[in-house]
């Protein structure tokens, strides 16, 4: 493939890579798995890139490919080994920014989100990224009404996990 295309791809992905990191954060729970999924999403983005026409924003397009890879395409690779808990390593919450109770609450919240199923995680992810129901429904292929219904159920489920 031509160099120019490759260059513009790498440049854009480098700039927006946090989107991919965030998908990985929700769908994996250790550093190796995170990097493995990051790599697979990168491969899928690059393969799909020649067909990216720019009628949507690069970042919007990334959400779709990223989530599709995490939910549907990705197969855990065998070389993956379980190491330390990821949130504890790379996302060490800075003590000065939070008070103790909030820090504790957030830790529990992230743990609760990790207990959700793949589709529920996708809804939470898009919600956290400030996507509206129109975009959520278009990304997942469900109606807006159903996206709302599902989101309410996810909120309830999170509450139940947090306060059993």
């Amino acid at each position: 493939m031509n160099k120019e295309l490759e260059h513009s791809f790498v440049e854009q992905l480098q700039k927006h890579q946090n989107i991919v990191h965030k998908v990985c954060r929700l769908y994996t729970n250790n550093a190796d798995a995170h990097n493995d999924l990051f790599q697979e999403i990168t491969i899928q983005l690059w393969r799909a890139y020649p067909k990216f026409r720019g009628d949507s924003k690069f970042s919007t397009w990334m959400y779709r490919v990223g989530l599709n890879t995490a939910i549907t395409l990705y197969r855990k690779s065998k070389r993956r080994i379980n190491t330390q808990d990821f949130d504890a390593v790379q996302f060490k919450i800075k003590a000065e920014e939070y008070d103790d109770t909030e820090e504790q609450q957030l830790k529990l919240l992230y743990q609760a989100v990790h207990q959700l199923n793949d589709i529920e995680k996708a809804l939470v992810f898009l919600y956290l990224e400030d996507k509206d129901y129109r975009e959520i429904s278009a990304t997942l292929g469900i109606t807006e009404v159903n996206a709302r219904v599902k989101m309410n159920r996810v909120k309830k489920k999170l509450k139940t996990i947090l306060n059993p």
């Binding site: 890879t69 197969r75 790379q90 957030l106």
Partner: protein, 210 residues
């Protein structure tokens, strides 16, 4: 405060806490080997096609007697037309699989993507079912003909009572069905394990529609 709002606040703050990959990291990663369910399904489909084609071909290659027999049969129009039909079926399946694989697009919405992948699996499922049905018909028939060609056995059989013949035929058919059933179960098990997660997620999206 709503739990998710609290999470969102932290989520936004976490932006600068991710490891930042450089351009060259990303370049290297994008050229690595991918490992996806689509790829695995594709390899399995190809293996299925090759497997059943080989099953049909091997007797011809391995046994001289069989080769001579088949050559003799090649003059019969039934044999020739059956052969043509079976090749046409293989070509049809290859075409359907190729089309289904081409339709898989990572930029579709999640539900559509899952449907496209499940469709390729369905095609190969029909292909396996087709081959099993052919086997179900041809195993008893070829058994019948090979017994007929064997003078000792056929003589023994001609002395047997009708009751005995019926029982023997039923046993032969029963064994064939049991054997093919096992092949089918094995096949279902492999695919079941392979696409368990995909199926679960698809059902989760589908459930919302009801």
């Amino acid at each position: 405060m709503d739990e998710l709002e609290l999470l969102k606040k932290d989520w936004k703050r976490s932006d600068n806490q991710y490891k930042s990959f450089s351009d060259s990291d990303i370049y290297k990663m994008s050229h690595k080997k991918s490992s996806t369910i689509v790829k695995t399904l594709f390899y399995i489909s190809v293996a299925e096609l090759v497997f059943w084609v080989l099953i049909n071909f091997l007797p011809y290659v391995l046994s001289e007697k069989m080769k001579a027999q088949l050559e003799e049969m090649s003059h019969s129009w039934i044999y020739v037309s059956l052969n043509i039909i079976s090749y046409l079926v293989i070509i049809l399946f290859v075409y359907l699989l190729w089309r289904a694989h081409k339709a898989i697009s990572v930029t579709d919405n999640a539900k559509k993507l899952m449907e496209s992948i499940l469709k390729t699996r369905k095609i190969i499922k029909y292909y396996v079912l087709y081959n099993l049905s052919i086997a179900l018909i041809s195993i008893p028939i070829s058994l019948y003909f090979s017994i007929n060609e064997h003078p000792e056995i056929s003589e023994q059989l001609s002395n047997a009572t009708t009751e005995k013949l019926v029982i023997m035929s039923l046993v032969a058919i029963g064994i064939t069905i049991a054997f093919l059933g096992l092949v089918w179960l094995f096949y279902k098990l492999i695919y079941g394990i392979l696409i368990r997660r995909l199926n679960r997620n698809y059902q989760e999206l589908k459930k919302l529609e009801i």
